[in-house]
Amino acid sequence: MTAVEATGLTRTYGAVTAVDGLTFELEEGRVLGVLGPNGAGKTTAIRMLTTILPPSSGRFAVAGIPDGSEREIRRRIGVLPESAGYPARESGEEYLAYHARLHGRPAAEAVAAARRLLAEVGLADRESALIHTYSRGMRQRLGIARALVNDPAVVFLDEPTLGLDPQGQRDVLQMVRRLAGERGVTVLLSTHLLDEVEQVCTDVLILNHGKVAALGPVAAVVSRAAAPRSARLRTGPDRVEEAVTLLAAIHAVSAARAADGRPGEVTIELSAELAAPAAAAAVLATLVEAGVPVAEFTLEGGRLSDAFLEVVST
């Protein structure tokens, strides 16, 4: 079943088009990483899908509920807004219980849900502490807990790792992974942490200037947008010249040279006529046959970050 569906979703601010014809579908239980440079339209897109911002044109449906039924959509979604603020003089438990009440839970059930969620995000020991005593990472976790007070079908997390230290980032991303894995919810995650998106997300949507620049499963987007075109090889410093000569002569390689300032390393440009894995296999076979030792061989340009840079620079 489709959890999120957008068709031609557009939002303009005067002459500026923040999101331009956003069209995509996300199946239930998937984790979509929404990427893009600053000002690409990620937050605007999320705000439209979460009913905070009316689209200028286009249609969407979340959890099977079409736009126009905003309140029904809000019942089925959980959202961690970008740069969310929190009431400083309330405790985490009071804050969550209040939002649980607004989502229709009776008072006792709201408090129980608040405690359960605080435990789930690792804040059980801080349930009575005032929010102003929370660290930034704890507030983000509290925000994620708030997004779960209504047991949502779809969760939108807008920059949940913004401003967090590496440990905080890891904690939040592990939480996202757990959300998808244990609760089975569909997650839309906007972030700048490309490596982590690669690990956590099943799909990726790259926005650039408000338009969809790439969309699909992470592996497909990476291979489509950033197929490896170069490689690095490490051998013995005395075998570099031989390796360069051998590789320059084969069809799979368009250029090979000794890396400047790095003894024993060879930089290889792969031929565009062959797929990267085939070219890599040919390179390794040639060297092994000639008895050149290979201490390390790395294909470059096969990461999401490479795909991202390639897509947004066009």
Binding site: R47, T50, T51, I52, L53, R71, E72, R74, R75, I77, V79, P81, S83, A84, G85, Y86, P87, R89, E90, Y98, H99, R101, L102, H103, G104, R146, N150
Partner: protein
């Protein structure tokens, strides 16, 4: 959810009275009322001011300032959430926007009710010797509630559209200043048909004038009811404006 406004109101009341500035505002109000009562009582002692007038003046200050407190709370209610970055989470609740606004309005009105409760002993102190307690208190409650509802609704309407609390408070203060200025006009400027028209059109001066007629001049409420037309109109317009603003409540105010 039909009762969501009560959930919002309860939370806002706790925020205002247990964690917020409700008591600080009330203390400042009490100091002002004490000073006013002291001045009119001592003036009365040396026969510069009649006892009925002392009751009327104190009541007018209590009503005007009490209603102002409601405006202050309401003007910050939504734009304050916007400033703190907590409005988006509130807008994501599956609750009609008017209920969010109504809950905050109810909390703002609690300041007026508390202010009125504080004013009761002052009015009693000045008026019990001449049997003038029930009329000023009932009239003060009626007029003050009318003005407080109108001010709170106006504050909410402005707050819903303002990008920041500072803007919201500035706009409200400007309107309030325009309403208060005629109360400071010399007597000569308020007599004659033009002066009376000005007083009748201004909901604040009309409401305070109504109190003066009842408490100081001893007139009947029905006899002077026409003075309540402007406050009643003001309430209607302000509540309608707040209802429209609630329907159009957006994350970034009117800029969106």
């Amino acid at each position: 959810m039909s009762g969501a406004w009560t959930i919002v109101a309860r939370r806002e009341l706790a925020d205002l009275w247990l964690r917020g500035r409700g008591f600080a505002l009330l203390v400042a109000y009490s100091v002002l009322l004490s000073a006013t009562t002291y001045l009119v009582a001592t003036n009365q002692a040396i026969n510069f001011i009649e006892q009925r007038e002392a009751v009327g003046l104190t009541l007018q200050v209590a009503v005007a300032v009490g209603a102002l407190l409601s405006l202050l709370a309401a003007a910050d209610a939504l734009s304050g959430e916007r400033d703190r970055g907590s409005l988006e989470a509130l807008l994501l609740a599956p609750v009609p926007r008017w209920q969010l606004v109504a809950g905050k309005g109810a909390s703002a009105l609690s300041l007026w009710l508390a202010a009125f409760a504080v004013a009761v002993p002052y009015v009693w102190f000045l008026g019990h010797g001449i049997g003038l307690v029930a009329v000023p208190l009932s009239a003060g409650l009626a007029v003050g509630t009318l003005l407080a509802v109108a001010f709170a609704a106006m504050g909410l309407a402005v707050s819903a559209g303002a990008s920041t609390s500072r803007v919201s408070l500035a706009v409200c203060m400007l309107v309030l200043l325009a309403l208060y200025v005629p109360t400071q006009f010399p007597v000569g400027a308020t007599t004659g048909w033009a002066g009376e028209l000005l007083q009748r059109f201004n909901p604040l001066t009309a409401g305070l004038h109504f109190l003066g007629r009842l408490v100081i001049d001893g007139h009947g409420a029905f006899e002077e009811a026409s003075w309540l037309a402007a406050p009643a109109l003001f309430v209607t317009a302000a509540v309608a404006a707040a209802a429209v603003a609630a329907r159009r409540l957006r994350l970034s105010g009117v800029r969106e």
